[in-house]
């Protein structure tokens, strides 16, 4: 049944997926089996997104399905499931900018690709990034920004990380709106990604994941 569940989620059949999950719960299936199937399906969704057959509607619906399935399974779970992660990423939209769609997509894609992601939200001051790097110890930092004002606050954030003595311990990627190679050079980031897939492959490359 779990194969059926994987297919239902991956093929965007929401009602089927939820029905199968309820049936599995009722027949006392191990909740971990259900969650593993959901995670396997998310990986398929992520892959299809990378291949260019899936787009935002599918990513968002997959996220919704995962949320609903987790809610259904939760009461039967003894403890929070352990997930092996490739590495850790701190991500946020830089100070002054409150746009979050692009950042959320990158976060979702990093998550389904096996990263632990700490999302600091929008309008994040440089100091908050610094604190998060100290506490969460990520290998990768992602700075997002949509407006031209973000060019400067991205630079300020990179500088603040440098001043805190944390720059050598992290790789920094930037993205969003008008960001390109030129902005990368200006901000002192290590790389820029044009889309969520680029962000994922940068992060994978930096933590040495395949």
């Amino acid at each position: 049944m779990s194969k059926e569940l994987v297919n239902a989620i991956a093929d965007m059949r929401e009602e089927d997926a939820l029905r199968i999950v309820r049936e599995m719960v009722e027949s006392d299936s191990d909740p971990m089996t259900i969650l593993d199937a959901a995670r396997e399906a998310m990986a398929v969704v992520g892959q299809r997104y990378e291949e260019g057959t899936y787009f935002l509607p599918e990513l968002m619906l997959a996220g919704e399905m995962l949320g609903q399935i987790t809610e259904i399974v939760k009461p039967a779970l003894a403890k929070a499931p352990e997930v092996t992660r490739y590495g850790k990423v701190v991500i946020g939209t830089v100070q002054g900018d409150i746009h979050d769609i692009g950042k959320n997509i990158v976060t979702f894609m990093l998550d389904v690709n096996g990263f632990a992601v700490l999302d600091l939200g929008v309008d994040v001051p440089p100091q908050k990034f610094v604190e998060a790097i100290r506490d969460f110890q990520p290998q990768v930092v992602g700075l997002s920004g949509f407006l031209t004002l973000a060019f400067d606050t991205m630079k300020e954030t990179v500088d603040a990380i440098k001043e805190a003595g944390l720059r050598d311990g992290v790789k920094i990627m930037i993205g969003g709106g008008q960001v390109n190679e030129e902005i990368k050079a200006y901000t002192g980031a290590d790389a820029y990604g044009r889309d969520a897939m680029a962000g994922v492959s940068l992060a994978k490359q930096w933590v040495g994941a395949k």
């Binding site: 929401e14 787009f55 746009h99 004002l149 709106g177």
Partner: protein
């Protein structure tokens, strides 16, 4: 009444009106000098020729279509530009006189801060209200329309906006929830019942706020519109007639939010399609109405959620393009020049959107591959763009000059190009913006 004007005649009437401008009293506009008058007319004709693609203009037209740059570059904060209407207009006027673009787009971008305060606008955060004084206002996207409200929107879009949507995005318009159903006002018997809400305090408070907001909007337009009039006397026309939107973006940006509309594609595709169909004539009406009111033919259509990466080609063809195309054709029919803006990247959509009548539209191009755009959409439409924000912000004047020269050589040599920034920008080096304008005038002359 005489015979109905054809679409071309309606548009020509707008252009001709533009070419014989009037002052606020309705008399012929007094220009600062005969040179200013000559330049004013040449600039309009230059734009018109470029858009129509029938004959080459005298040179490639150039314009600057910024967001907050005119004010930030003058050392003003966005907050000041939003609250000091007189200074906002004056600084904009100086910006146009200094940079000398062929046409300008008015000082409308900052908008009246006090007005937004009076109505307690929630759809945006602006300086002093969730955004720092020096930063531009930004949209608070959300699910302002619930999924179960599609039927209400479809049945009566105006009623839905009045009773449900507007009270959600304007804190001061709560009284609108109580307004009566106007098509029910029919006969003497019982008619007074419909008017009871106007006697109730919440509705009366809302109307008090509206009176204040209206007065504020009037004060603002007096200053901002004044800049348009003054600039015309110096020879710089504003040809922007207003804006409208793609029905998919009306729902995705304003009503359901990105997540909402993306989920609707799977969960309630028929309702989404029906709602867009209902909104289409309204979006056409909105554009034509503002072109007629301002006498300016260009109707701006910012395009958001059809860009590369948002939807599959199939979804784009089914959900985004059909109603946008209908809006474009409807505006043309109404004598307007649609100005869709391909914000971000649209490389995968070019083959689809090129299916429009030739010489009737102007497309702002941001980061799409201009050579590719020229080969597809550019065969049928004039292109406006696309000097990158990053270059204007961080590059050198020489880099901008090289970019413009290349753009003119590769995209503009047979016409159909207007040089402009590709995306709205708040910050740039003034010398780079100047280089964009000046180098177009230098390299863009058609021989």
């Amino acid at each position: 009444m005489g015979k109905q004007l054809s679409p071309d005649e309606k548009l020509e009437a707008l252009w001709q009106g533009k070419l014989s401008p009037k002052d606020p009293q309705g008399n012929a506009l007094q220009f600062q000098s005969p040179e200013a008058e000559k330049a004013y007319k040449e600039r309009i004709i230059r734009f018109k020729d470029a858009i129509e693609m029938k004959k080459l203009p005298d040179r490639v037209p150039v314009t600057v279509f910024p967001s907050m740059f005119p004010w930030t570059s003058a050392g003003m904060t966005v907050e000041e530009a939003m609250y000091d209407y007189g200074k906002c207009a004056e600084v904009f006027q100086n910006f146009v006189l200094e940079f000398e673009p062929d046409v300008h787009w008015g000082a409308y971008a900052p908008g009246p801060g006090k007005f937004f305060e009076i109505l307690d606008y929630k759809l945006y955060s602006w300086p002093g209200h969730g955004v720092a004084p020096e930063h531009c206002y930004q949209c608070n996207e959300g699910e302002y329309m619930k999924p179960e409200e599609y039927d209400a929107l479809i049945q009566d879009p105006s009623g839905y906006f009045i009773n449900v949507y507007l009270p959600r995005v304007f804190g001061a318009l709560g009284g609108f929830q109580m307004l009566p159903f106007f098509p029910g006002i029919l006969e003497m018997y019982g008619v007074a019942l419909n008017f009871i809400p106007f006697g109730l305090p919440p509705v009366q408070n809302t109307f008090q706020a509206l009176f204040k907001a209206g007065a504020e909007a009037l004060q603002w337009i007096g200053a901002i519109g004044g800049a348009d009039g003054a600039l015309a006397t110096f020879g710089f026309p504003n040809i922007l007639g207003g804006f409208t939107k793609a029905p998919f973006d009306v729902i995705g940006d304003t009503l359901r939010g990105t997540k909402g509309i993306m989920l609707d594609i799977y969960r309630r595709p028929d309702k989404l399609l029906k709602a867009m169909e209902v909104l289409t004539p309204l979006m056409i009406k909105m554009g034509i109405g503002s072109a007629q009111a301002t006498g300016n033919p260009l109707i701006f259509i910012p395009l958001h959620k059809g860009a590369d990466g948002f939807l599959s080609d199939e979804q784009f063809k089914k959900f985004f393009w059909p109603t946008l195309k209908e809006v474009i054709l409807g505006l043309i029919e109404g004598g307007c020049v649609p100005l869709p803006a391909l914000e971000g990247f649209w490389n995968t959509r070019l083959e689809i959107v090129q299916d429009i009548p030739q010489g009737k539209t102007l497309w702002m191009v941001d980061q799409s591959d201009m050579v590719q755009v020229k080969k597809t959409l550019g065969r049928n439409a004039c292109l406006l763009g696309n000097v990158p924000s990053s270059m204007l912000s961080l590059g050198t004047p020489q880099e901008v000059r090289d970019y413009v020269k290349n753009l003119i050589e590769t995209v503009g040599k047979d016409g159909g190009l207007i040089v402009c920034n590709g995306a709205f920008f708040d910050h740039a080096k003034p010398e780079n913006v100047k280089a964009m304008v000046d180098s177009t005038k230098e390299y863009g002359v058609y021989k």
